[in-house]
């Protein structure tokens, strides 16, 4: 049996036996040696840091060696000199003895060394990262406020609508209840319409000057509002009166806003105020009510003028180009499409042929969802956040900084994402670098923009929201892409809003064409094919399945509809309950259900005379 085998198989026994016997052997041997030799052996054994039995073995062997030397008549000094360097001897002896240790110990040692090496690498990484983290400073060169105001600054004073809108708002004579009622009067309920019209007329007559100013503003080339972080005290006071709150307060809680004062030299994108948005809605609703009153009085010119102005407001409001502005514009466009449908249903004759055509052209010019929704403002926001979080190596990359994390945590607090705050020293090595974060944002935006160009029925492709979840769902990725989790908007909901608005607009274009056809032919068309190409360039698609929009001729009118969220054609059947109406309207619905009705675009209410059901 080799010494290695015996060492492995009876390691403990041998160790104990050696330990027990070491004293009986080594002590007399060592004691007989001259002090320098004894000390040399002791020094070697101490430095070699051996196991007890190994030490005893080495002591005994070296002692025997010196005894042999002395027996040969060699002087102790010569023996000591021949011995060599004690430090080197101890080191080599340790190495040699360690190689003789059992396999399990060798493995344990290697594992220990590997762990120690990994820990060392980790500590080194963290140390280097921490130093770089604290010495790094963000390079803030990009000015979001300039980007957002670029279009406004390019407009001449005379071409700006906002000064007129602002003046109109400041001159409004409305109670908060009247503001809440604006735009809600509907033709769909004949029982309440007269009362609603009377109230609307009262409001309109009190605010005739403001309405005129709004019309004048709508004729301007652009909105021309210059946004920033300074409050418009006069407008805020008016807003408080009309809305119950001043829209100029920074986002988040007042306490958070106080804790996070804006950068006065270069205001943060997300702190830039958009105080005009609520007033844009008020202005559009005023005009919408004016159009409703005009329609009820048979005043086509008034209706046309109001609708044209509302569309103009929607267009102007796209600048500054933020997502929230786009969504407000979409809501404003919906005012026009809804009212146009009401007019075509209840008083089609009040609009002249030219007005019908003009409205159709203006509505068609709105474009598709990608024209209604712009992500430019979101891009500005994330570019601003990136520049405040990271260093910039000039090549598109950079590392997270301490100042950046502080900024991020304030951002999370102000945007009501307190749970997304990250621990500076611990989590920062896990956060994606500048390039990676930028790429993730760009991928997200690319998907969102592709989604805006993709019809609703083509939903198999990966959506921005799904990618967002991929980036932010896991525990580690939540930290890695923390900035995305607090800055990315709800892309899919935005997309569906835009798609719904476009579908509604498309239906209005068909209804306008059908009315033009009736005026030309004396009757509504039997099928939509008759409208193409003279009255309609092409038949719009049903937003749910991509088939041509559904149309059914009735005795005196027609029904224009989509099959609705249940994807079943119920021949233009109206919902009989509010629940059914709500379900079929939810065209983005992904589940399977069946509703005995369709999504009716025209007429806007069930009309027994039309024989819809």
């Amino acid at each position: 049996m080799s010494s290695n085998d015996s060492a492995i198989t009876s390691e403990n026994a041998a160790k104990q036996a050696s330990d027990a016997g070491s004293a009986s052997r080594t002590s007399p041997s060592l004691a007989d040696l001259p002090a320098p030799l004894r000390d040399a052996i002791a020094a070697v054994c101490k430095r070699a840091r051996l196991w007890k039995h190994e030490r005893a073995d080495v002591e005994a062997e070296l002692a025997a060696h010196f005894h042999d030397g002395l027996a040969q008549g060699t002087a102790p000094d010569t023996l000591l000199a021949n011995f060599g360097d004690i430090k080197a001897a101890a080191k080599l002896i340790r190495r040699g003895k360690i190689r003789n240790r059992p396999l399990w110990w060798q493995l344990q040692r290697r594992i220990g060394q590997a762990i120690a090496a990994m820990l060392l690498v980790l500590v080194a990484f963290v140390a280097v990262h921490t130093v770089r983290f604290y010495i790094g400073t963000p390079t803030i060169a990009f000015r979001p406020v300039d980007e957002l105001n670029r279009e406004a600054h390019a407009l001449a004073e005379a071409d700006r609508a906002w000064p007129l809108y602002r003046k109109a708002v400041l001159g409004l004579d409305l109670t908060r209840a009247e503001v809440e009622r604006l735009g809600t009067a509907t033709w769909s309920d004949p029982a309440v319409l007269p009362g609603a019209l009377a109230q609307a007329e009262a409001v309109l007559s009190r605010n005739a000057a403001s309405i005129e100013l709004i019309h004048r503003g709508a004729s301007k080339q652009g909105l021309g509002i210059v946004v920033g972080i300074d409050n418009d005290a006069e407008l805020d006071a008016k807003s408080t009166m009309l809305l119950g709150y001043p829209p100029s307060i920074p986002p988040g809680t007042p306490a958070a806003a106080e804790a996070f004062p804006p950068d006065a030299q270069n205001p943060e994108a997300f702190l830039i105020l958009l105080p005009h948005l609520p007033h844009i809605r008020i202005a559009a609703r005023l005009l919408r009510d004016d159009a409703l009153v005009g329609a009820s009085k048979g005043d086509g010119a008034r209706v046309h003028r109001d609708l044209v102005s509302i569309l103009s407001i929607a267009r102007q409001n796209r600048s500054p180009d933020t997502l929230i502005s786009c969504l407000v514009s979409v809501a404003v466009v919906r005012l026009v499409t809804d009212l146009t449908m009401d007019v075509l249903e209840h008083a089609p004759a009040i609009l002249s042929d030219e007005q019908l055509t003009d409205l159709a052209h203006r509505l068609a010019a709105l474009g598709g969802p990608a024209d209604l929704i712009s992500l430019q403002g979101e891009r500005i926001g994330y570019r601003d956040a990136i520049q405040r979080l990271y260093t910039d190596d000039g090549q598109g990359d950079g590392r997270l900084t301490a100042a950046g994390v502080e900024y991020y945590n304030k951002l999370a607090m102000v945007t009501q994402n307190r749970e997304s705050q990250i621990a500076v020293a611990l989590a920062s090595p896990l956060v994606a670098g500048r390039r990676e974060m930028t790429n993730a944002f760009e991928s997200l935006f690319a998907r969102a923009e592709a989604g805006l160009r993709r019809p609703l029925w083509k939903s198999s492709e990966p959506s921005a929201d799904r990618y967002f979840l991929e980036l932010t769902e896991g525990k580690l990725t939540t930290i890695r892409y923390a900035l995305i989790s607090i800055l990315a908007p709800a892309f899919e909901r935005t997309r569906v809003k835009a798609l719904e608005a476009v579908a509604q607009r498309d239906a209005v274009l068909v209804a306008l064409a059908a009315e033009s056809f009736r005026r030309a032919q004396g009757t509504y068309p039997e099928t939509l094919d008759s409208l193409v190409p003279r009255f309609l360039p092409e038949i719009p698609a049903d937003p749910v399945d991509g088939m041509p929009l559904r149309y059914r001729r009735t005795a005196n009118s027609f029904i224009l509809y989509s099959i609705g969220a249940d994807r079943r054609d119920d021949a233009g059947r109206f919902p009989s309950t509010d629940a059914d109406a709500s379900r079929v309207r939810n065209i983005d619905h992904r589940g399977t259900f069946d509703a005995p009705c369709d999504l009716i675009y025209f007429p806007r209410r069930a009309n027994p005379v039309a024989g819809a059901n």
Binding site: S18, S22, R25, P28, E61, Q72
Partner: protein, 154 residues
């Protein structure tokens, strides 16, 4: 002439194996034998020899055992096979006081020695061919008489 460290690193173990191929030897004996046989060229202190022995032991080329030092040891050692084999203990077990630790060549060590010898011969031939070494290789029989045991301590 002292050999440079790098050369010594290759030559030392072979020298030890070669000496142990003749008979079992203990540390001091090995130091003396190497010094004598190589005229000091491969002389090494204990600080080099013992770690080298432990390494050779770890690699399984040699194995150590403790044996009591007696006057008869030297004569018996000359016969290669130790007389007190029954009294031997492994290097890990308890030796008696006044013991010496002997080393013997294992089968693995013998194979290694044969391999190393061939390599050294090839190196020397190559060096001769290059004119670096000029001495003739000694015949194996020429080495035997010189390996005499050391006198035992009184």
């Amino acid at each position: 002439m002292k050999i440079e460290r790098e050369l010594m690193r290759g030559a030392g173990p072979v020298a030890v194996l070669k000496l142990l191929n003749r008979r079992d030897m203990y540390g001091y004996e090995l130091v003396e034998a190497i010094t004598q046989r190589t005229e000091g060229a491969l002389a090494m202190g204990q600080s080099t020899l013992y770690p080298m022995l432990y390494n050779l032991e770890a690699q399984g080329f040699i194995e150590g055992y403790w044996q009591e030092a007696t006057d008869a040891d030297a004569a018996k050692n000359a016969d290669r096979a130790p007389a007190k084999r029954d009294a031997q203990t492994s290097s890990k077990s308890k030796p008696a006081s006044r013991d010496r630790k002997y080393y013997r060549l294992t089968d693995k060590g013998k194979k290694r020695l044969a391999d190393d010898s061939k390599q050294w011969e090839a190196v020397i031939r190559a060096m001769k061919a290059l004119g670096v070494a000029t001495l003739a290789l000694p015949r194996p029989s020429e080495t035997e008489p010189c390996l005499r045991p050391l006198p035992q301590p009184q």
